[in-house]
């Protein structure tokens, strides 16, 4: 069979004027890198599940994307992550929801698929399963980015809610350019 790959990094009401050239170049470079990594693996005959996990791990580590590090914050100041994976030939599937301490949620979703009789695990139970399987854990500071924090701050103030305390170990506040904030406001609607 011919190998094939398609990826997305999220959607938002992004008008062409919203993104400065530097930011656009950075997103294009990230997509290019993912395509090249995935294409090389597939060309070498890698299994699809290994390619999907590897590429999504790279996105989860890239603070530009709303997954893993760089994920958006909840109203009470935490990064809570969801992930899922499915294999078409067997309909095997795994998913996790509301995890806060696993560096690569996609790997935990794969572990649920391959090492449990379940399809979805959530919250503390999913975190416990991750620890049992020896997945890499990370504290909330690891996932912290200032631009996402400030986007959450302005959103909770619009909702009339108190701004939560910054996570322990998070860096000191730093300025974020307004244009990027606006764009994130729109992005948040689409996960």
């Amino acid at each position: 069979n011919d190998w094939s790959i398609i990826i997305h990094g999220g959607a938002g009401v992004i008008e062409r004027g919203d993104m400065d050239a530097q930011t656009e170049a950075a997103y294009r470079a990230a997509l290019q890198s993912a395509l090249e990594q995935g294409g090389a693996m597939l060309r070498d005959g890698a299994d699809g599940i290994d390619v999907v996990e590897a590429l999504i791990q790279a996105f989860e580590d890239d603070p530009m994307f709303n997954a893993g590090r760089g994920g958006v914050f909840t109203a009470d100041g935490r990064v809570e992550m969801d992930a899922s994976v499915m294999i078409g030939s067997t309909r095997a599937a795994g998913a996790v929801a509301g995890v806060t301490s696993v560096r690569h949620p996609i790997s935990l979703a794969r572990a649920v698929m391959e090492h449990s009789p379940h399809v979805m695990l959530a919250g503390d139970g999913a975190e416990g399963f991750a620890a049992e399987r020896g997945l890499e854990l990370a504290d909330q500071a690891f996932f912290f980015t200032e631009r996402r924090w400030q986007a959450m701050e302005s959103q909770v103030q619009r909702m009339g809610l108190p701004v939560p305390p910054r996570p322990e170990g998070a860096p000191d506040p730093e300025p974020v350019n307004e244009g990027a904030l606006d764009m994130m406001e729109r992005e948040h609607r689409f996960g």
Binding site: N1, D2, W3, S4, I5, I6, I7, H8, G9, G10, V13, I14, R16, M19, E24, Y27, A34, L35, L42, R43, G45, D47, G48, V51, V52, E53, I56, F59, E60, N66, G68, G70, G71, V72, F73, T74, A75, M81, D82, A83, S84, V85, M86, I87, G88, S89, A93, P105, A109, M120, A122, G123, F143, R148, A151, M152, E185, H188, F190, G191
Partner: protein, 137 residues
């Protein structure tokens, strides 16, 4: 939200999605990403990853529905264009109900995307095809 769908040289399609969710979510809110059939789906011919207002993708069971609709249309009129038509129809339905976002999918290994927002970070590549990257419409 990020998503990857591949078909490997064994002909197996695999789809995966990961997200931080929506900014300032409350009450343990979960969207479509971890809901198989809503934000992620894969079967023998089709694989899909979605991003958008998760509540709509769950209620409309978007990922599995698009793949099933593509299969149905392919049986009726042949595979050419079936997946794109199925994806476009679903995105129109979502928009009409107030939902928005986008999907990427492989149907028989062919890349398809559909969105009802002006922008989506997306890219595709494959044996015998050139890499393609897009952000806006």
């Amino acid at each position: 939200t990020v998503g990857v769908v591949v078909r490997d040289q064994s002909g197996v399609t695999v789809a995966g999605t990961s997200t931080g969710g929506t900014t300032a979510k409350r009450w343990g809110r979960v969207g479509d990403t971890p809901v198989i059939g809503a934000g992620t789906w894969a079967d023998e011919r089709c694989g899909l990853s979605a991003t958008g207002t998760g509540e709509y993708f769950i209620r409309f069971n978007v990922a599995a529905s698009i793949c099933r609709e593509a299969e149905y249309r392919a049986l009726q009129t042949g595979p050419e264009g079936a997946a794109q038509a199925a994806a476009d129809a679903m995105m129109d339905t979502l928009l009409a109900d107030g939902g928005d976002g986008g999907i990427v999918m492989l149907y028989l290994g062919e890349p398809v995307w559909a969105m009802n927002t002006p922008g989506m970070y997306r890219a595709s590549w494959g044996e015998g095809r050139e890499p393609y990257i897009a952000i806006y419409d």
